[in-house]
Symmetry: C2
Subunit: 447 residues, 2 copies
């Protein structure tokens, strides 16, 4: 077999980057769990017919068949595809297990998803997402909209990423505003405003007048609303100054103030929140709070963490399950950071200590030293060969292993060398401890 | 959407079982890393042509296509399938990245694999495996055969599973034995002996004579070799007593003694090792040590953890990469234990403390209590609604949350109730600690 070439859109990491990814995932998991979110994992496949209900994405699904499937085989009939997000599988899981779950059900889910999109930076065919959602039966209190924003802010805020901004809006606010100013076709207004990042303001104003049948004055108000941004609840006054009133608008304003206040109160490091009344999220199942997220210096990636409130996450006809959730694009975010060398691990292996070997006969004794270190939480391995010590030290150095241990012979005491400084000291495997920053690989950012 | 039905062969766990699975995976990861094994993950897909080199499995591969792929699309041409194990992807990863890896390369990999097999107990279409392998360039010292057995013994030995037995053999030992006794067709002998679990001894003896062209006396010696089992190095004397000698046999005996001694020396709880000279492993790429594993009471599942030494894990023509590895069937093992209720979590959520609410206005204050607990590593959530306390306690009880926290009003002090005992005591969120067994969900076995 010749050297295989990478497959475009299916990224894989070298061991050092994988250590970074694992530590990011650990942080997400630890934070989600600390807020009481339970982990679930769903199978990789879903029936095609369920996935294709969301028409806009149908081009991108990977369909499965068994290589030697019989024509009448069940699977072929059911038509299975790889899931393209974690929301459709979660909705199906909730319906399938509704009798066995307790509601409101708070879950997180960290898994790969697959989309047959054309690969480009930050857009892959296989990529990991980390989703948190809360789902209720029949109704779900608004305060969970604040909670999912807070938990994600706390999770992402602690990571060595470039500064992150959570952009918040509320569909009730904008829909109420359009209704309040007398728009005859509210969905048409939203479709036009959704183009605000792609078209010049004049072109959007034109669309508002021609497609959404607004007067020029109404169109202008819509553009002024979309231009409002604020890092605190002050946006509410700016909206009030536009002179439009509507009960749904008031409710949306009230909700948005609570979400932004809740996130600001957390003071998560490197994480800020902004009310950005331009954000609409194209997906039409959002009905209240909407979330998007930008990473400084990586704005071209688009939103790296998105979601919102949906009044009907799932429904079995008799019962409706409303939900609110937010999804962080793990691979979308880490991939470009890895490519640019903006995130790396301090070493490419978990090993903290390499136990050196004088000769092969000493391997069992060296193994006992390694075992004693491991029992105390220190990752340790024995040198693969009883080479000259210089070669054993180079083995450690190439992997970034900070310490080499020299078992004492006869009455001699063990010694441990910090191969970065060259310092070598007497040590006992039952009591020696490395500095805490050397115990496990550290994730290093650009700064 | 009506309530969806589960998909046979694609198991999913409820949150409680998922907690058990996570803790098992955590234990595996922690152990693998403590021995210096680095994590990698490979993409879910591999080119079909690579996977189909292993002809025996080609019926079971899931093939992918994009739903709306153009007839001339690249992907269609490359023919992608879901990987059916983690060994083929690992071999490809090693070749693809050989210039960027350091050898010997010790890696672990915990991922799902897919096979279109007919589902039955312990046999799934999507299931997780946990693999450890060591791979070298050109050559790989034998002591890694001992190491991978030890690391897996330590990982599995600490889990609350039924007693586990690692069955060990060595292909050099059996091949050398057959050669030494004068077998004209050694592979034919191995094929016959491999049927020893399916056929009666007389039928195997018959095969040895007819298919492998052995004399009845030679056939008898082969059966006597296959009957040897020992929990220590004593098997070597039993083999010697059969009076066959061969250099390869001697080497195999020497290796097998070292592996079994190495595992026995670990004294991993609930884990034993046995030399079982019947074990051959059908896969013809094994060239030395072979591993299989049985779990007491679940012998019908077959081997739950298997592997061995292969002289050529991968090759790019110029360079050969020998390896030794072992693969634990996570889903194969846990699925049947879950079905029988033999393993469960002490609660279905990570939450240790539910902070009660007097009224909705107190939610921010209750949130501060929860945040103070979280900062100290205690998973805490605020009650979803300011219902009567009895209802809030039932919310906790249904999820197995052991503690409910009552924030003090005005000058009153906070109190925390253990809802199992009913004990309620004054407490401060900046200092209170639960018993360690209540801090995180515990995994409970049958015993």
């Amino acid at each position: 077999m010749a050297r295989p070439a990478p497959l475009s859109g299916f990224p894989e990491w070298l061991p050092g980057d994988r250590i970074v990814e694992q530590q990011v995932l650990d942080r997400l998991r630890r934070t989600f769990e600390s807020w009481g979110f339970a982990s679930i994992q769903t199978r990789a496949v879903e029936p095609l017919e369920e996935m294709l209900r969301k028409g806009e994405i149908d081009k991108e699904v990977y369909v499965l068949r068994r290589l030697h499937a019989a024509p009448d085989e069940d699977d072929a009939g059911r038509g299975l595809g790889l899931h393209f997000d974690l929301t459709v599988p979660f909705a199906r899981y909730v319906l399938e297990n509704s009798g066995k779950l307790t509601f409101p059900f708070k879950r997180y889910q960290i898994q790969p998803v697959w989309r047959g999109e054309r690969p480009q930076e930050g857009r892959y065919r296989e990529f990991w997402q980390a989703d948190v959602d809360v789902v209720g039966v029949g109704e779900l209190p608004f305060h969970h909209d604040v909670e999912v924003a807070q938990v994600m802010a706390e999770a992402l805020g602690g990571l060595p990423l470039p500064p992150i901004t959570l952009q918040l809006n509320n569909r009730k606010l904008i829909q109420g505003f359009y209704t309040g100013l007398g728009a005859p076709d509210v969905p048409a207004v939203m479709r036009a405003i959704d183009k605000i990042d792609k078209l010049r303001p004049d072109a959007v104003r034109e669309l508002l007048v021609t497609d959404a049948a607004l007067t020029p004055a109404q169109a202008d108000l819509c553009l002024r609303l979309a231009a409002i941004q604020a890092q605190d609840a002050g946006f509410a006054e700016q909206v009030a100054a536009l002179g439009v009133s509507d009960p749904l608008l008031d409710q949306g304003l009230h909700e948005l103030v609570q979400v932004i206040d809740g996130v600001v109160a957390l003071r998560a490091p490197g994480f800020s929140a902004v009310a950005d009344l331009r954000i609409a999220r194209g997906l039409d199942y959002y009905t209240g709070t909407v979330y998007e997220t930008r990473m400084a210096g990586y704005e071209h990636l688009g939103s790296i963490c998105s979601g919102g409130r949906y009044d009907s996450l799932a429904s079995d006809g008799a019962t409706t399950y409303p939900g609110v959730g937010i999804s962080f694009g793990v691979t979308r975010t880490l991939g470009p950071l890895f490519s640019r060398g903006a995130l790396r691990a301090s070493r490419s292996v978990p090993t903290c200590v390499l136990v050196a070997l004088v000769n092969e006969d000493q391997r069992p004794a060296a193994g006992l030293v390694a075992a004693a270190l491991r029992r105390r939480g220190i990752c340790a391995e024995v040198a693969p060969a009883a080479d000259k010590f210089g070669k054993q030290i180079r083995y450690a150095d190439r992997r970034g292993i900070p310490f080499v241990w020299f078992p004492g012979s006869g009455e001699g005491q063990d010694e441990v060398k910090d191969i970065r400084s060259g310092d070598q000291v007497a040590a006992d495997p039952s009591s020696w401890l490395p500095a805490s920053e050397d115990l496990v690989p550290q994730v290093l950012g650009e700064s």
